[in-house]
Structure formats: C-alpha cells, structure tokens
C-alpha cells in the first residue's frame, strides 16, 4: 500500500524539465500572476488556477473550510446556476477537477488547444462572483462529510496518519487534517465560507498557469480580457502559529478495526522556505531516495528482501512546503514480526545514515533516477504545470523547478550524513502505531462523526 503512495509522490516531484520548454511570465495590474509554458507536442492545454489558501491557513473551529469552499466553487455563481460550470466544460470536451492541500487550492481544466477561452471565462467568473447559496451549502457539506468517512474514518491507515499529525505538531496548522475535524464540519456556517472566499479569492492571491500548445502572447491577452477587470483584494498575510521546539519523543496508539498493524514515524524537518542552509532540504530528499527510491534502495533490499522484517517500508520527504514538515517513515511488519521489530529495524537504519555517509554508488543511482524522471516528466503536461503552480503558491519562485535537478545532483554524501545527524534525532520524533481491533462486527462501531483523523489523499 505504501508502495503506491510513494510511487505517486515520485510523479509529483518537481522534476520539470530544466532546459526544454521555456516559461513565460506576466503580472496583470490587479496582481494576478500568469505563467505560460508552451509545449506543442499535442494539440491540447491545461489551464490551472492556483490560490494561496489551504488548510494550513485555517485556525481552530473552522478547519476544513478551504476544502468545503472548493466544493462550493462548482455550485454556481451570480450568472451561472449550480452545475453549469461542469456542464459547459464537459460539452467542450474538457476534463476538470480541483484539489485542496495544506498550502493551496487549485482548479484546472484540460482542454483542446482552441478552448482556452472557456476556461478563463468560467474561472474568472467564479473568482469573484460565487453565489454561495444556502441550499447548495447544506447539501455539499453532507457530501464532504461522506468524503471524510470514505477517506479517513473507514480507512485505518488514513485514520492513523490523521491522528499522528495531530500529535506530531503542537501548534503548526499542519496538525489539522485538510478535510477538517468532524466537529468543525458540524459547526461550519455559510458565513464562514463567505468570509473565507472574500479574503482569499482574488487575483492578487492567485497564479494562473497554462501549459500546452499555446502562444504566450495570446494567453496573456486572453487573461487580460477575462481576469483583468477583477478587483484586487487587500491580502493580509496569515498569522500562522509556528511550531515550537519539541522536547522529547512522542508516541501514540490508534485503535481501529483492521487486520494488520501499521507504523508511522516522523521527524520535524525544515523545507526550502525555512532551511538553515539552502542545500539541506535537497540533502534530505536524497536521503529519502537512498532509503526508499526503488527496489534497489536500502529499505527494499534490507528490510523487505534481506531481513524480511517489513512487508513494506517507506521513507518520504517534501522539499517544497510552505511550513516546516516531517521526514516520514512508515511500514507494515512482515509475517512473524511485530510492529516493535519494524520500529527497531527502522531506527537501526536511521542510526546508520547518521553514523556513516551514504556510498558514492547509492548517490549515483539516485542522481540517475532523478535525471531520468526529469525526462519522463515531459510526458505529462499536467504535472509540469502543477509544479509551477505549487511553487508559486507556497511563496517560492517557479524557477526552483528548473534548478531542482541540479540542486539534487550537487548533494554530497557528507551533506546527507549532516542532515541525518541534525534532524533525525529523538527530540524531533513522533511515533504512531495502529493497533488493529477485530473486524468481526462484535465491536462497537466508531461513531460516524465522533472521532476523526487526518487525510492522506492523492
């Protein structure tokens, strides 16, 4: 199961081609930043609108509001009734969706190259003229609660991950689930959404990214036509609770109906935005690949195949986040081993990267994988655009997507050891264990909205 998550993450990694298609940039007078990446391989485009708003901007009592608002963005504007947005996109052969993360909310349409105007017309309309009607809100809130049950409450590993984050972070909003705490969803009001919408849905808080078979000047001109007239908003930087220093290791246990146990370990780590040294996040990313980047990595070779302690074991880390996050380990014990054996094995692996440098051969393997992934990335227009939007949305420069491969390639074995020693320390650690409860139906059911967890979702 973890394998799949990790494989997906690798797809998301910022391996946007450095040399190849150039990115064109323009800022409209109202502050909307427009990025265009021409790619003429196929007669299509992706149009993505990224807002700098997500669950990490939320505070206690209204968690989940960014995501519910994202749902409401499909429920009608002053000039389009509910559902019409999707009907128009569909009639134009478009694929569309939206996603909410900790640091951003993004909307996209994939279209044939001559349909960009459809996207701009509809997106500019709902940027400032959302209807936010009571009836649709009441219904959509129920949809979101169902979504939460599906993603988190009825998935023991997801539930463990949600509660793990809540314990790992004492103050950081990364402790809250993107989908929101059940109690907060219960008390959410339409007025909360209206406020949130007015505060954050504005041209000067968004990045428009278009990639595909387009001419940059025509895209800029079309953007001016549709988004240009929208008024800017005064955007006050959010007051984010920063995470205080951790004093000692934390542990938790999550009981849920399940058959197999599950272990999660996370160490507090910096991201690009707040690293003490520019190279540190890249060294952490290389470290995650040495441990878990393919079947030749240490975890697959030593924990799954060699010692056969793990049925699966993973390591992951995200360079690009708005706030400091976690270097994560997770795994499922192999037959004949308990979760304690797996934890001991992971700790031994961690101790090893702290006490000795990774080998030149391992580093070379990771570099080759990174370079290859950069080439493969060119096969997906969507992810190329996504990387630009994500970087801008977390307050970084989209050009980091172009220097990413070089930054990784420059990491030395000593730097990997340095970050391991500095950050993989017990005082930064949180450990969560899923304690499986019987599935035989004799147990009391979890209340459908009583307790909850966080969401790890693709």
């Amino acid at each position: 199961m973890q394998r799949r998550f990790i494989a997906f993450l690798i797809c998301l990694l910022p391996l946007v081609a450095a040399a190849e298609p150039k990115v064109y940039e323009r800022r409209l007078d109202n502050g909307l930043k427009v990025l265009v990446k021409p790619d003429h391989r196929a007669p299509i485009l992706t149009s993505q609108l990224w807002y700098r708003i997500g669950s990490s901007y939320e505070y206690g009592g209204i968690t989940g509001v960014s995501h519910v608002l994202e749902h409401m963005m499909f429920q009608g504007t002053e000039s389009h009734p509910p559902g019409e947005f999707s009907r128009i996109v569909a009639e134009n052969g478009g694929e569309e969706n939206a996603f909410t993360g900790r640091d951003f909310t993004a909307y996209y349409q994939n279209l044939a190259k001559d349909r960009l105007e459809i996207s701009f017309k509809l997106e500019s309309d709902r940027m400032r003229h959302l209807a936010l009607a009571d009836k649709e809100f009441t219904k959509e809130l129920e949809v979101v609660k169902e979504e939460r049950r599906m993603r988190t409450d009825d998935d023991p590993q997801s539930l463990t991950y949600e509660r793990f984050n809540a314990v790992a972070f004492d103050a950081s909003p990364y402790g809250n689930p993107v989908i929101g705490w059940p109690g907060d969803l219960e008390q959410l009001q339409l007025a909360d959404l209206s406020d949130w919408y007015r505060l954050w849905y504005a041209p000067n808080n968004a990045t428009l990214v278009v990639a595909g078979d387009v001419d940059p000047e025509q895209v800029f001109s079309l953007a001016e036509t549709y988004f240009g007239p929208l008024a800017a908003e005064e955007i006050r930087p959010p007051k984010t609770r920063s995470e205080p220093a951790q004093h000692g290791e934390k542990r938790l246990e999550v009981k849920a109906p399940a058959k197999e146990s599950y272990l999660l370990m996370g160490y507090k780590t910096p991201a690009v935005a707040d690293a003490a040294e520019d190279w540190e996040p890249y060294a952490l990313e290389i470290l995650s690949s040495v441990l878990d980047g393919g079947d030749s990595s240490r975890f697959a070779r030593e924990l799954v195949r060699g010692d056969q302690i793990a049925a699966s074991a993973g390591a992951s880390y995200s360079v690009f986040q708005r706030l400091p996050g976690l270097f994560l380990f997770d795994g499922v014990p192999a037959k004949g081993h308990g979760v304690a054996d797996l934890e001991a094995a992971l700790r031994a692996q961690i101790e090893r990267v702290r006490s000795e440098p990774v080998s030149a051969a391992e580093l070379e393997r990771v570099r080759n994988q990174v370079v290859a992934a950069k080439v493969y990335e060119q096969d997906s227009l969507f992810y190329q655009a996504m990387m630009l939007g994500q970087l801008e949305s977390i307050g970084l420069d989209w050009r980091l997507s172009e220097t990413y491969v070089d930054a990784l390639a420059a990491v030395t074995p000593e730097q990997v050891q340095t970050v391991a020693k500095k950050y993989l320390t017990p005082d930064r650690l949180t450990v969560a264990v899923l304690d499986p409860q019987p599935l035989d139906g004799k147990q009391p059911v979890r209340p459908s909205l009583g307790i909850g967890g966080q969401t790890h979702v693709r």
Binding site: Q2, F5, R41, A42, P43, I44, S55, E70, H71, M73, F74, G83, S86, A90, E91, G93, G94, A98, F99, T100, G101, A112, K139, L141, E142, K145, E146, R149, M150, R151, D154, D155, V178, K259, G294, D295, S296, A300, V304, R305, A311, S312, S316, A334, K335, E364, Q369, V370, A372, V375, Q378, D379, L439, Q443, V445, S448, L449, T455, H456, R458
Partner: protein
C-alpha cells in the same frame, strides 16, 4: 507518500476505492473519445520471427521509450489455483537469468528505468519505461528480456512474496470497498473464471506450489500468446530490432484457448455483509459487454450519460447533487474478452444506505425506460469527441491504447473511426441496447457496512 490533497470530484475516488484500483486503467480506456481533425497516432504492426505480434508508434519528441508486453494470461487462467497468474507475475523481478532480485533492481534503478508487472482478469502485462540513451536502453532491455523468459522462481523469494501477499489480502479485508468488490464479482460471475479476484485468496495463495508457477509461465509466456506494444523515440528498424530482442527468449508456443462464455444471471440477489464501518458501500452489477461487442458504442455512450461522466452524469446528479448522499457514484461497463461487468456503485452513511440504494436503482430503471434525451446525447457526444485529443496526448496514454487494440484484436483504425461511430449513435439505439442488455430485475447487489438488514438475503427471480 502523503500528499495531503483532496479532490473535489471523482479523480481521487477512482484512485482510491470509489472505483476499484485494478479497474482504473481500464476505465481510462473506456473513456476513449473520437478523433476530431487532428491526426491519431500512426500505428505500425508486424510479427516477430517467433510469432509475437507487435504494435508500434514512433514518438520522437522525448528521448524515452515505453514497452508493454501483454500475455493472454490473466487470472481467468488461474484454474483451481486462484492467484496463480498474479503470483507468477509477482515473481518475475525476484530473480531471472543470472541475476537475483538485488541485481535486477540495481540494473534498473542505476539507469533510471522502471519495470512493473500487473495482472487483471484477461492479461498479464509487463511494462518498462527507459531513457533511449545508452547504456540505459541496452541495460533495461536486457533486463526485461531476462525477466520475461528466464524468471528463476527462487523458492526463498517465493515464500517471502507469498507471505507478503497474504498480508496484502488481509489488508483488503480491512477495506469495505475491496470486500464489496470481491463479493460482487463472485455474485456476478458465479462459476465463471472472472468470479475470482486476481490477487487470489488466503487459502489459494498459501497452497500454490513453485511447480505451478513454472508450469504457468511455460504455458502462457510464449510468443504466440504475446503482444508487444512500443511507443517511443525509435524508428521502425529500431523498434523491429527491439521487439526481436525482447521476445528472443520466448518459445513460439501456442495462443491461449478462448475463455468460456459468461452466463447471464438467472435471478437478482442481495448480499448484505456486516462490517464495522461508518459508511455502507453499495454495489450492483451483472454481466455486461465484451470488447468488440456489436452494442459497444450505444452502451458506451449510454453509460457515459448514466454514470460514466463524473460530475455531470445522471447518477451523480441524483445521488450527489440533488441529495448529498455520496461523494462518489458511478456506473461503468468493463469490456473484457468475454463480457465483463456492468457495475454501479456508491458509498453513503450507514443509515442512508437503503435510501441511496433505492435512488441508484430507480435512476437506472428510469434511464432504461426513457433512454437518454437528445440534449443529453448531444452533450455526451460533444464531450467524448471534444475530449479525444486529451486521451492520446502522451506516450503513457498511447501505450495503453496499443495494448488494448492489440490484445483484443480491434482494427488498427479503431481510433481513426471513433468519432464517426460516436457521432452516428442515436438516442433510440441507446434505449434499445440498454433494454436488451441491462436487466434491472437480475442485478447482483452487495452492501458492505453496518446496516440493519439480515446478513444474507436473496431477492427472488421475479
């Protein structure tokens, strides 16, 4: 690993249980649209010297290559040993030729190549992605060739893979969606080989012997039973040489025999499985259609309207938009070599399960009665034809099409003609095809959740 992303619509539901993962790639293929004005990929085809069929599309824009080798060796070939095909595939990269699992992994990772094997009910497919520069390509192709022809089925590795599969099967039991999916296939296909899940059962996996894997490999991993799909930065001569090398180790062998026919259900059924979840998963299905089916296009567009077009489908409107009952609801036909399932599904809070199930079934019955409106049909045709360029935009898309076109022996101009065939379908044809092919009285229904109903109850044949 944990992307912390939530999608508004169906994308993630498809990826995560709303629609079974094993089916997701096929769904993508079902969404084939029609060529508009632009060129469809030029497919070249030939046979290797030992009789494997090759489909190739040159894609010189990116210095990379995708290869997919497909054998007529899906789980429908498991016989009495459920999971045999998938265990055979799972052992391919655990040792082959002179290389053990570590050596195989090193060879691929060191050049940034990726290799994977997958099994569904019809196919075993082995996929490779590599750079075309050297030494990457040589290394990757040699590795693929060994993995296909000379897997060692090393006993110790087999025991490990077996134990980890047993753990994965136990994890499936934690998932109400997986439990429902497996139960529904059993109810829809009964004694047909499509009834079993490709991953097998705990009992069958525990019992599979090494000899059985060796025999399965020897019987089905042969050139006459293989299709090689190639997309990438090669010319025809290069692709021909590549296909020869990939298949060189395979004996000619024989193609697999046709699978048995699927019988229609004699009666409807309802199975309510008690499960400690907050939602109830509701699935309903029956045998649907096969690849190349004469009713393919009317059924395909009709289903698109009913429950195959995400946020704008009729099911989505009734279940989610009007009533807020479920995050995701859908219907699909999964066309296989023999008729695969027609399936509808949703997940809703336990106390709403009965209501949601009724709305879902009533929506189907209404659609069967009246068929699509002309407006619905026109909108669907525009969506499918207008979206076609998106479906063939990447090498990753095209390799999937080649596998399906080649494996199911669809005509090579299948994509070229798609637009016309979509455009030619009438509302009356859809109504007629659904009336003949979908019987609401003979649906197998499975619910998994904490409901008040008796554990097993059968809906009579009325």
């Amino acid at each position: 690993m944990f992307a912390d992303l939530i999608f508004a619509g169906l994308k993630s539901a498809a990826a995560r249980g709303g629609i079974p993962r094993a089916v997701a790639p096929w769904l993508a293929l079902l969404l084939v649209g029609a060529p508009v004005a632009q060129a469809t990929p030029a497919i070249q085809t030939w046979e290797t010297s030992n009789g494997a069929r090759v489909l190739f599309v040159a894609a010189p824009e990116i210095p990379m290559i995708d290869v997919k080798v497909v054998f007529d060796a899906g789980s429908a070939r498991d016989g009495e040993q459920a999971g045999l095909a998938s265990m055979t595939a799972a052992m391919l990269d655990e040792g082959a030729g002179d290389w053990d699992a570590d050596a195989l992994a090193d060879r691929l990772d060191n050049v940034g190549a990726s290799l994977s094997a997958g099994v569904d009910r019809d196919m075993t497919s082995v996929s490779l992605r590599s750079l075309t520069r050297q030494p990457a390509l040589e290394t990757a192709i040699d590795t693929l060739t060994a993995v296909l022809a000379k897997p060692s089925f090393e006993p110790k590795a087999l025991e490990r893979v077996r134990q980890n599969r047993l753990i994965a099967l136990r994890q499936d039991e934690e998932s109400p969606g997986d439990v429902a999916q497996k139960a529904l296939y059993r109810a829809v296909f009964q004694n047909h080989p499509y009834a079993g899940d490709p991953s097998g059962t705990s009992a069958s996996i525990a019992a599979i012997a090494r000899d059985a894997l060796v025999a399965f490999h020897a019987r089905y991993y042969v050139a006459a039973n293989a299709l090689v799909a190639i997309v990438g930065d090669l010319d025809r001569a290069g692709a021909q040489a590549l296909a020869e090398r990939i298949t060189a180790g395979l004996p000619k062998g024989e193609a697999a025999a046709p699978l048995p026919k699927v019988s229609p259900l004699a009666a409807g059924s309802l199975q309510a499985i008690d499960f400690p979840s907050s939602q109830t998963t509701v699935l309903a299905g029956q045998p649907g259609m096969k690849r190349g089916d004469p009713d393919y296009f009317p059924l395909y567009i009709g289903n698109h309207i009913l429950g195959g077009s995400g946020l704008v489908s009729i099911l989505m409107d009734e279940i989610r938009e009007k009533r807020g009952l479920s995050y995701s609801t859908y219907s699909y036909f999964l066309p296989l070599a023999q008729p695969g399932p027609f399936l509808m599904g949703l997940k809703t809070r336990n106390d709403q399960a009965e209501q949601a199930r009724q709305v879902m079934l009533e929506t189907l019955e209404r659609f069967l009665e009246r068929g699509p409106t002309q407006a619905e049909l026109t909108a669907a045709q525009k969506n499918i034809t207008g979206g076609f360029p998106l479906k063939i935009a990447s090498n990753g898309n095209i390799i999937q099409y080649l596998a399906v076109i080649g494996f199911y022996k669809l005509p090579l101009d299948y994509l070229d003609r798609f637009t016309d065939r979509i455009a030619a379908v009438t509302a009356e044809q859809i109504r007629d095809a659904f009336a003949r092919r979908v019987d609401p009285e003979r649906l197998a229904i499975v619910t998994v959740g904490r409901s008040q109903e008796p554990v097993v109850e059968t809906r009579g044949a009325d």
